[in-house]
């Protein structure tokens, strides 16, 4: 899974039938609190909104299982809203015991 930040939404009328009624979020991918140059358009599964940090599932078979379908062009799904991330900056780990 990946960490992302929701920056916007995409709407469409003409789309593959799987996306009928689905909410699509534009998510910048985040590395150590900073947005990267990469992004994903994801299907929303948790009601995330613009500005929120989220967990993104980016694997097709798992995504299709989530939506209980055998086939469908789905891979990236927002599956969680992040409250907080605790991580140490590289190089500040305590010395090994």
């Amino acid at each position: 899974m990946k960490v992302g930040r929701v920056i916007g939404t995409v709407t469409s009328t003409v789309n593959h039938e799987f996306f009928d009624g689905r909410r699509l979020l534009v998510c910048d991918l985040v590395d150590r609190g900073r947005t990267t140059n990469d992004y994903l358009i994801c299907v929303d599964r948790v009601g995330a909104g613009v500005g929120e940090t989220v967990v993104i599932l980016d694997e097709g078979t798992s995504a299709r299982q989530m939506f209980a379908i055998e086939t469908g062009p789905i891979r990236s799904v927002v599956v969680g809203i992040v409250d907080d991330i605790h991580e140490q900056e590289t190089g500040t780990e305590p010395p090994p015991l």
Partner: protein, 90 residues
Amino acid sequence: MKLGLVRGAVVATVKTPAMDGMKLLVVQPLNTAQEPDGDVVVAADAVFQAGRGDLVYFVASREAAEAMEPQFVPVDHAIVGIVDAVDIPT
């Protein structure tokens, strides 16, 4: 999925039988500012209505074949939606 701009069409008379009837479009991947981002790809049109100048979103890899009917076709990019609006508040 990523945003893309349809730049044209590809016509191929000789192709593997599983691709018969498939519409192939040239798509320029875009970043969130809708600027070109990466190399152009040839994508199958899974919505059958995309054309030059359309802003679309597309899937890659295995999910592209999943977008097509039947699902076992040799494609690695497929257009799955024509964008009405991208709303990114500043």
